[in-house]
Subunit: 243 residues, 2 copies
DNA sequence: CTTGCAGGTTACGTAGCGTCATCTAATATA
DNA sequence: TATATTAGATGACGCTACGTAACCTGCAAG
């Protein structure tokens, strides 16, 4: 059975030696063997555990929480929660990107660049209130709740829709046609959204209408017109034909 | 002219009062007025500056660097660099997601879940070596270089392609047809990649061939077959028709 | 024999705040 | 008018996840 020294593990996993020693110190990852001089030797199992730790860390879990749950979760559970987390981040990022492009557009057009616009955009994109525990599945949560507190949550999907709708509004306002590059962009986002969050067009449309019905303060949008919906549909029509 | 107190700003921008006081303390954002009791009052300009700071912070810039460059950069420059950063993050995230799904697939199939596979995947996705300075444009960099060091960089786009190719290989291996949901996924990613990173199919194909020519150790892939390319093309053919 | 390298320990430093403890001024309520 | 609450202020200490420096050890190479 092969064993690895700190230096080897450090290079392989791209982690500092100091980190490994620290993990040993706080009893997060104690190497399965130490020789007479105190040299650490890591087994293959240790490396798998380290992998787990790295993944859980990327969920922004504090190390002592990781230590608490490490043994209770299977590799698959960890990966699935990691996957959920990543998808969530993706949503946020895409919303952020939309907002940022909107702002840049506004500056470039040198008009309507008011404090109102900025704060409305930023307010929508900023508050991230989901926590790592939300990325675990229900049954796992039940167990986890006993160890650690819980949290509120926020509809990120809605935010994504809002972002798309804002882009469409921009297009209409500045006379970009559905046939333009911007129209293609909109179409792509829409397809992505339907594909990732729902399974078909029915739900998509429902979501659209739900958002439309929300009061303006809540969505951060000026009231949404029929025009917008038509624009959206035409974007997809023009650029893609689903077979 | 309206002025805001710490508490008001705190709520509006979703920042702790402590943070505001800290920024004052380190001379990052000093409110334009203080009354006899030392109460801080922020002007509209102050709020814009705060916005800039928040954006720059989201680039993971340390606060003292932000202080140094804050006055030198226009709002537009900051937003553009922020946008570049976000796009970069998006690439990484997508690669991460692909890798994670691959791993989950492997576990689910309960075969070939060797250390080799895991480490190959993780090694590819892990090392993030771009730094915030890379997200500024050339002329801005020249100026910035005088203040702060510089860094290497890594071909993230290649990594994205690798991720897609890996998914295709998985499809072929487990007999998922281009017509399946997985095929649709692949098609979506491919369209996204062509649309975001290049402008047309020509470059896409070049990139594909470039990667194919790379030795296996570098790409982290088993040699890529004609089969893969055909599969990719069919995915797009089957699911989308560009008009 | 020393030199260098890979390992070790101990201990202090860091960023960006959170979190007391304590104080003041202004306003609301009894 | 007395008091309680609120929103502000200022230290000062605490925290995470390590980086970094100082110094020691064991071993192979020159």
């Amino acid at each position: 059975m092969k064993r690895w020294t700190t230096g080897e593990v450090s290079k392989q996993r791209n982690i500092s030696v100091r980190t490994l020693r620290y993990y040993d110190q706080i009893n997060l990852l104690t190497p399965s063997f130490k020789d007479d001089n105190g040299k650490r030797y890591y087994s293959e199992d240790d490396l798998f555990t380290l992998e787990k730790i790295i993944i859980l860390k990327s969920l922004s879990l504090p190390l002592d929480n990781i230590r608490d749950i490490l043994d209770e979760l299977s590799y698959r559970q960890i990966l699935v929660s990691h996957y959920n987390y990543l998808q969530e981040e993706l949503s946020k990022l895409q919303a952020s990107i939309s907002n940022t492009t909107s702002l840049i557009h506004m500056i470039d057009l040198e008009e309507s660049f008011s404090w109102e616009h900025v704060s409305r955009l930023v307010r929508n994109s900023d508050n991230s209130s989901k926590k790592w525990i939300d990325y675990f599945q229900e049954d796992e949560r039940n167990f986890l709740q006993e160890i650690i507190p819980n949290l509120s949550n926020n509809d990120e999907i809605t935010q994504q829709y809002i972002a798309v709708l804002q882009r469409i509004e921009w297009c209409i306002k500045y006379d970009r046609k559905p046939e333009s590059d911007e129209g293609l962009d909109v179409a792509l986002k829409l397809i992505e959204l339907t594909n990732e969050n729902f399974q078909g067009d029915t739900e998509l449309m429902e979501k659209f209408w739900e958002i439309r019905k929300l009061p303006a303060e809540e969505t951060g949008l000026y009231p949404i017109s029929e025009e917008v919906l038509e624009f959206a549909e035409r974007c997809i029509e023009v650029h893609f034909k689903l077979c």
